[in-house]
């Protein structure tokens, strides 16, 4: 159909495919798990912008997820229990932390970039667990209460599922717009040769900083949605040792692709949720899956499939 050959038509088709995919998973996984999967995919999308598109691997992305989670909690505790306002506060907190620590982090590359993110995450984890435990609930965490918005009650699972899916679609759409714009070409060019981009007349520092802020904001958005879904926060939301989850998901699905991020998110969650029920040390299989990807499917599962089907994703 011709409508799907236009830019808007293709976007609409993408969004419909994502929505349909999760609606198909719904009866298989159940509503709670599907909502979890969706929120994790939002997190992977944010991480993937930084890693897959701009080539900057972060070992500390849990900090930004945790920032969103704790910001929502504290906002709801001290300011307002309106869930939408709380989510906006979570996103704003994620953006703010990107604005503040971004100028330090984006000056670095490679291992230094990965580890400086981890170092900040360690600091954040300590602050939540010990230094500010009076406000964060320390190791026990805190319960969070949100008010109803008329007939909309996020405590009802179908509403939460629908809202999470809407948020994923919105995030996908925004990132698709970003990554198919000249800015998207710019960050992909930075990934390949930053020096060359400077000699095209671009201040790469600014664009790396902007990308970092977008990535931290999306991660915080995922953190905020998690709290809306679970109704409590614990330090596990900011735990640096969990950073590997999002890295695995991006690698397995296919970094540098929005579809890849979503597929990777679903596969990682499926392995960690279901394999864990049968095998106590399920992480070994995750390691094997990663090894297969590294040696056999360098561009991830989606990259492999897209290559076979000769699909060149616009993003």
């Amino acid at each position: 159909m011709d409508i799907f050959k236009t830019g808007a038509g293709r976007n609409l088709l993408d969004l419909a495919i994502i929505a349909a995919g999760f609606l198909v998973l719904l009866p298989v996984l159940g509503i709670n798990r599907t909502t979890d999967f969706i929120i994790f995919c939002v997190f992977v999308l944010g991480f993937n912008l930084l890693y897959g598109f701009m080539g900057r691997l972060s070992f500390g992305h849990m900090l930004y997820l945790g920032t969103g989670a704790y910001a929502v909690t504290l906002f709801s505790e001290h300011v307002s229990q309106n869930p939408l306002l709380a989510i906006m506060a979570g996103i704003a907190a994620g953006a703010l932390i990107g604005v503040i620590i971004g100028p330090i982090i984006v000056r670095t590359t490679g291992a230094c970039f990965a580890l400086i993110n981890l170092a900040f995450d360690q600091v954040g984890y300590f602050l939540v667990l010990v230094a500010f435990s009076k406000y964060t609930g320390g190791e026990d965490g805190m319960s969070v209460y949100f008010s109803k918005m008329g007939v909309i009650d996020f405590g009802q699972k179908p509403i939460m599922f629908g809202f999470a899916l809407l948020c994923l679609i919105l995030t996908y759409y925004l990132l698709k717009k970003f990554t198919t714009s000249p800015y998207g070409i710019l960050i992909k060019s930075i990934k390949e040769n930053e020096t060359r981009v400077k000699f095209l007349g671009y201040n790469t520092f600014i664009y790396k900083w902007i990308t970092f802020i977008i990535s931290t904001s999306v991660a915080a958005f995922a953190g905020a949605l998690s709290i809306l879904n679970y109704g409590y926060v614990t330090p596990s939301f900011i735990d640096p040792s969990r950073a590997v989850e999002v890295i695995f998901a991006a690698l397995i699905g296919g970094s540098g692709s929005l579809y890849g991020a979503i597929i990777g998110g679903v596969i990682y969650m499926a392995i960690s949720n279901y394999l864990a029920s049968y095998i106590s040390r399920w992480e070994m299989f995750l390691g094997i899956a990663l090894l297969i990807c590294v040696f056999r499917f360098r561009s991830g599962i989606w990259g492999f499939v897209a290559g076979k089907l000769k699909i060149r994703e616009a993003a």
């Binding site: 717009k177 000249p182 060019s189 060359r196 981009v197």
Partner: protein
């Protein structure tokens, strides 16, 4: 048309890496519209000198001026905005992007005369008018039929042409070409030379090249570098007959004859 206004000037430009002085007190002046060749043996400091002019490195001593303005510590992206554009010794294009996407950034560069920031972040990079601009740049190089290939699929010669197309689409006032013929076949050298010949009237340019015979009819002046120093400059025929130049460049063997 050549005027007396120096477009670029260095005064005692020096860059030192630990004990190595890569560029040693170079005084260089270039008038608007001029075409200059920079030659010298390997390790003479030619590319380091380009790096100083374009801001990849800042000098450890001396000053650099562009149209009379001190640009010694101006970063590369601002120098590009001023019109100082370069190519690289090792061809430098984005292999992971389609050919046409290599030109999107140069044709969309943000400036008051270019695209709005909103369109830069949210607009489709492949809008018809933008792609047409890119295609025009590719047509000049004769590679418009390869626009939608991945850049990694291009031959080395076509990558050189693409790099030149990117440089030209940045609207240079001064173009610095670092060994543009390196790795090209004789036929490709002829094609690239012809392109340079066609566009060189539009701006000033400096060209580094080992194969002197390829640039001798492209430039008005030759500068010879040796061990970081500018040891001779002047019209090509005169410079190539300079005894010191002949010794450092060709050693005791005869290179080109003085009649060139």
């Amino acid at each position: 048309m050549t005027t007396e206004q120096p477009i670029i000037e260095t005064k005692e430009a020096t860059i030192q890496f630990n004990d190595l002085i890569a560029v040693d007190g170079v005084n260089f002046t270039m008038k608007e519209g001029e075409a200059i060749g920079v030659i010298g043996p390997n390790g003479a400091g030619k590319t380091s000198f380009f790096n100083l002019l374009t801001g990849l490195f800042f000098p450890t001593g001396g000053k650099i001026f562009f149209s009379g303005k001190d640009i010694t510590t101006v970063p590369p992206h601002k120098r590009v905005a001023m019109g100082i554009v370069r190519t690289f010794q090792l061809v430098s294009v984005f292999d992971s992007l389609p050919v046409v996407d290599n030109l999107i950034l140069s044709t969309n560069r943000i400036s008051p005369d270019h695209e709005s920031r909103g369109a830069f972040f949210f607009g489709d990079a492949h809008r018809q008018n933008k792609v047409e601009q890119c295609m025009d740049a590719l047509k000049l190089m004769g590679i418009e039929n390869k626009a939608h290939l991945m850049t990694s699929e291009l031959s080395y010669g076509d990558k050189r042409k693409l790099e030149l197309a990117v440089a030209l689409s940045l609207n240079p006032k001064i173009l610095l070409l670092d060994e543009p013929f390196a790795g090209l076949s004789d036929m490709e050298i002829g094609e690239v030379s012809q392109i340079i010949r066609e566009v060189k009237k539009k701006f000033s340019f400096v060209i580094i090249e080992h194969k002197i015979s390829h640039i001798i009819d492209l430039v008005q002046r030759l500068c010879v570098m040796h061990e970081g120093k500018l040891i001779a400059e002047g019209p090509p025929a005169e410079v190539l007959c300079n005894a010191i130049v002949r010794e450092v460049y060709w050693g005791k063997e005869e290179g080109l004859t003085c009649s060139v």
